[in-house]
């Protein structure tokens, strides 16, 4: 597999996120970046990854990326489509999802996610869309992958509001809770890959993307970010991955602008 030399940091993020998915996993897919990464995985190394969207579409294989979580394309290419209550009850809560793939507006050092609001709940500075499927995806899926662009506004020491549990305000939010998934096992950004520390659960950079320095990551993070003692270099995208991703995005662009 040739590695490409000319790619964007957004492409690096998507390819790295896609590689996190293994063939045969059942993945509950969030819209946006997770959806892009999950479909790239399906179109490259993981043809049998099972993609599930909260709109009820089971094992879907969209030819273009959906703009919304319930685009017709998702239903037309699905094995079957169930009601939304069934999706959350039988498939997610029923333990059939191995990985939930989420984006977020804010994330903190314990991988708690905030998609509710910036500021105070009763007088918000910015009102965000809200929880959606995330609160239960994060606790009922076997594990959780998170992908978002790295910035100090997004990576804050403590989120303004825990919409969705990572490891809680003290890193111990999952301890002793029965029937709960492992929670966030990796966070993939345009700069690096992070994993929770096995002991205290604080997010730790385990791999830097090519050309990215520790300083860049620190500048884009709102707390003193830890680096793993054996910091890896994230492998570069291959030509094939980039070609598939670019073709997918071009197809998507054509399909959506045609309407």
């Amino acid at each position: 597999m040739n590695t490409a030399t000319d790619y964007t940091s957004a492409e690096m993020m998507t390819v790295t996120a896609a590689r996190a998915l293994e063939n045969g996993m059942t993945c509950f897919v969030g819209i946006g970046l997770p959806s892009e990464a999950a479909n790239l995985a399906r179109l490259t190394h993981a043809p049998e990854v099972v993609l599930i969207y909260e709109s009820g579409t089971l094992q879907t294989k969209p030819d273009v990326l959906p703009l919304s979580i319930g685009d017709g394309e998702l239903c037309e290419s699905a094995l079957t489509t169930v009601s939304v209550p069934e999706m959350f009850r039988y498939w997610l809560q029923g333990g059939k999802v191995s990985v939930g793939f989420l984006g977020t507006a804010q994330i903190d050092r314990y991988a708690n996610l905030n998609t509710t609001l910036i500021g105070d709940y009763t007088a918000p500075k910015v009102r965000l869309p809200g929880g959606g499927g995330a609160p239960e995806i994060a606790t009922n899926a076997g594990e959780v992958f998170i992908t978002l662009k790295h910035s100090p506004r997004a990576f804050v020491r403590d989120v303004d509001f825990i919409t969705t549990l990572g490891f809680g305000r003290d890193g111990k939010g999952r301890d002793g809770v029965p029937n709960i998934g492992k929670g966030p096992t990796r966070v993939i950004t345009d700069l690096c890959v992070m994993k929770p520390d096995p002991v205290d659960r604080e997010l730790t950079v385990v791999s830097l993307h090519p050309g990215v320095s520790r300083e860049q990551v620190q500048e884009a993070t709102g707390w003193d970010i830890r680096f793993a003692p054996e910091l890896a270099a994230t492998p570069e995208p291959s030509d094939h991955e980039l070609a598939v991703l670019r073709e997918l995005k071009a197809r998507t662009e054509r399909a959506h602008s045609g309407q």
Binding site: G70, D71, G72, F88, P135, E136
Partner: protein, 272 residues
């Protein structure tokens, strides 16, 4: 038994000022025509329930119909914010509205429990989330068999539910196909239900386990061709993704919004 009415008559008869209304459709089959009719009839003080408020509730909020919104994800899918929802919540325009927010799982279960005639839904949910701190309708119970702590939310039981579907037959039986969301649950959970359809046909042509809602579980059927645009109707027309993107600019600005409502909803007199 479902009566076939004009959309205007159906809304007039079943949507009262102050009512609790669920207009459902998970991205697909969103009842836009019905929402526009509610705006045209200048209904006020509505409590609106919907998992994903989408543009239809953004329009109703901006048009001043709404007192309270119960929801679980309030964005413009794939685009960004619902600016009218944000303006109402952040700045009180056109007036302050209350919000009560859940997760999707909880709302889906609450619709399901409403359809099932139960007062509550029980789920393995909200673990570690701070939503229970700001929504007093989220409680926790203990399983009498395992001792496990489980979340409980009140079931959704609207005064009126309004959904859009592909077709009805002449007896008012309705076929919903594709992404069926919580439409059936919304209809069954409500005191009254209005279903708008693309067309009325002699025979639904449904397979044995299709999502068919019997006419006797519905109050009114109204034909609303292209009644879910800019959302879509599986088998009829695609989603107008371009409009979803254009809405961002329209809704960002109060004047642009007001003009849009006036030009596209009020002035059309029901022939939008």
């Amino acid at each position: 038994m479902a009566e076939i009415l004009s959309l205007s008559d159906a809304v007039k008869r079943y949507v009262e000022d102050g009512a609790t209304v669920a207009m459902e459709g998970f991205t697909h089959l969103i009842p836009f025509a019905a929402g526009h009719e509610v705006i045209r009839q200048r209904k006020r003080d509505l409590t609106l329930i919907r998992m994903t408020p989408d543009l239809v509730y953004d329009q109703l909020i901006g048009a001043g119909c709404v007192k309270k919104v119960i929801f679980s994800w309030g964005g413009n899918p794939g685009v960004g914010s619902l600016h009218r929802l944000r303006d109402a919540v952040e700045k009180g325009w056109p007036h302050q509205i209350e919000i009560l927010e859940h997760s999707h799982a909880a709302m889906a279960c609450a619709f399901e429990a409403g359809a099932a005639g139960l007062p509550l839904a029980v789920l393995r949910g909200y673990v570690g989330s701070e939503l229970p701190n700001v929504n007093e309708q989220i409680k926790f119970i203990e399983c009498p068999f395992t001792g496990e702590r489980l979340a409980a939310v009140p079931s959704v039981r609207p005064d009126v539910s309004i959904v859009h579907a592909q077709k009805a037959d002449r007896a008012g039986n309705v076929l919903v196909e594709g992404i069926i969301g919580v439409q059936k649950e919304a209809v069954l959970a409500a005191k009254h239900a209005i279903v708008t359809v693309e067309e009325i046909v002699d025979d639904l042509g449904a397979h044995p386990n299709a999502c068919v809602i019997p006419g006797w579980a519905i109050d009114a059927i109204a034909v609303a061709e292209k009644g879910s645009l800019p959302s879509y109707a599986h088998g009829y027309y695609p989603r107008d993704n371009r409009f979803y993107k254009e809405w961002d600019a329209i809704a960002r600005d109060r004047d642009a919004f007001t003009r849009w409502i006036d030009d596209n909803i009020i002035q059309t007199g029901g022939h939008a």
